[in-house]
Symmetry: C2
Subunit: 277 residues, 2 copies
């Protein structure tokens, strides 16, 4: 949901997924005004996927208390008409076997990124490695990168992942921003400075939505576009944490997004030349 709301500010989004009969569909209906196509979301009997966790006092780390797959357990994703031709594909965090199943249905994608989580790293490691061999990018948070690679050093962890297939890895670091790691080259984008952070839930998904939405709008995946995509990701993450649930996006327009994106230049750019004394 965070992904779709963020991405839809930049480009039309088609969602494939499953919800249980307990899902608050009025939320979906309200959001579909934003140009999100929900026709690929099945409604199944049973409870929706649930993740329950506890955040640390500084909202920087979190502990998983419970992961309940619900209707995801028996989900067989099937792309609706038109989605087979998708060029920019994000395989959200579900069973890697299902992610592979979705990927098989896409005809000739330009760029495929995937997400995962500790649950699959532990229970479906082999399938996850098969998936990594077939995607262009893995986008995970730092604890997932560490758990997957078995290495606490984030740059070595990134290289370990690159050696499994992806050409790029994005490692999200919460309030510290995110890294884009390619072979022999690294780019860092900080988080937008915020004095009020209400809810870090979904910030990573909003980051992914901004990142992929920008690539879809640009229809280009070279390094320069990828770096600008990092800024759109960080920008969407900053809206996400500014309110509970997706409320941080209420009233946010594409022009607001572009304005915040421009602020990242002043936040990050090192003066290249020696300034005059």
């Amino acid at each position: 949901m965070y992904f779709s709301v963020a991405a839809s500010l930049l480009h039309p989004v088609r969602v494939v997924g499953v919800i249980g009969d307990d899902y608050p569909t009025h939320e979906l209906e309200r959001l579909s005004t934003r140009g999100i196509d929900w026709s690929g979301v099945e409604r199944a009997t049973g409870e929706s996927f649930r993740w329950k966790g506890k955040y640390s006092y500084d909202l920087q780390s979190r502990e998983t208390l419970e992961t309940r797959l619900g209707v995801f357990a028996d989900f067989k994703p099937k792309l609706p008409d038109g989605a087979h031709a998708a060029r920019i594909v994000f395989l959200g965090n579900i069973d890697p076997v299902l992610q592979l199943g979705v990927l098989d249905q896409v005809k000739s994608p330009l760029f495929v990124a995937c997400d995962t989580m500790n649950y699959w790293i532990q229970s479906k490691r082999d399938d996850l490695l098969k998936l990594l061999a077939r995607v262009d990018m893995l986008m995970v948070n730092d604890s997932e990168a560490r758990e997957l690679s078995g290495d606490w050093n984030i740059h070595r962890a990134g290289r370990w992942i690159l050696e499994r297939g992806p050409k790029q890895v994005v490692i999200k670091q919460g309030e510290y921003g995110a890294l884009l790691i390619e072979k022999g080259r690294t780019f860092h984008i900080p988080a937008y400075p915020l004095e009020e952070v209400f809810d870090p839930t979904g910030a990573g998904d909003a980051f992914a939505g901004g990142f992929m939405g920008y690539l879809a709008r640009s229809n280009a995946v070279d390094t320069q576009h990828m770096r600008r995509a990092m800024v759109y990701g960080s920008t969407m993450g900053s809206y996400s944490v500014s309110g509970f649930g997706v409320r941080g996006f209420e009233g946010v327009t594409t022009e607001d997004v572009e304005q915040r994106v421009r602020q990242f230049v002043d936040l990050t750019n090192v003066p290249i030349a020696e300034p005059a004394p």
Copy 2:
């Protein structure tokens, strides 16, 4: 020591301080070949200042186990001839009363920065606040900024400190880099990506040495120079963690430093214009 070694790669350094009779002076002598003037370092009877701590598994956080002032307890710093005219002054982490005493001896500094630590924040808070009212910059790590301000949000903590006097605050964040916070404007510099980190001790001091050494060399303290100083700080921090003690600096030349500084442009700079599709 880390400060002096880092700064001396950019500009001559004069050190004022005190060591106990247990201090390994051969280390000092070896380093004085680098253009560090140690004539302001007194040798007193007793044990040198000691800090003992424990780092977390990822070297990101640390716990103070013991702080022993030793000869610092009775230290009355006195500037040697010539040092009274210093233009760029760094008041290292000692009792804020002594930091004020040093500051009183400097005639007309262009720029004064100070450091502090949890020990003084807890035991000499009032003196520390007096000092803040008289310096241009406080340079601390994130846990110190949080403890001093009583606020876990780092941007609010930075603003709290600015309201106490300094025109700038640098908040060091270990492997996540550092923030330069001014009124209404923030700049972030990441840490240099390193696959091998041996010893985080002294990285913050090396950062400070690179930052101040660059300002001294430039003899300018405007925002553009300050932002480049952040790059020199982060560069020196990266050498510091690459070996135990000051060994990370062995064989490092000023040209090595300049080359690493240039690499920060690729690591951080957001493409300003929309790239061609």
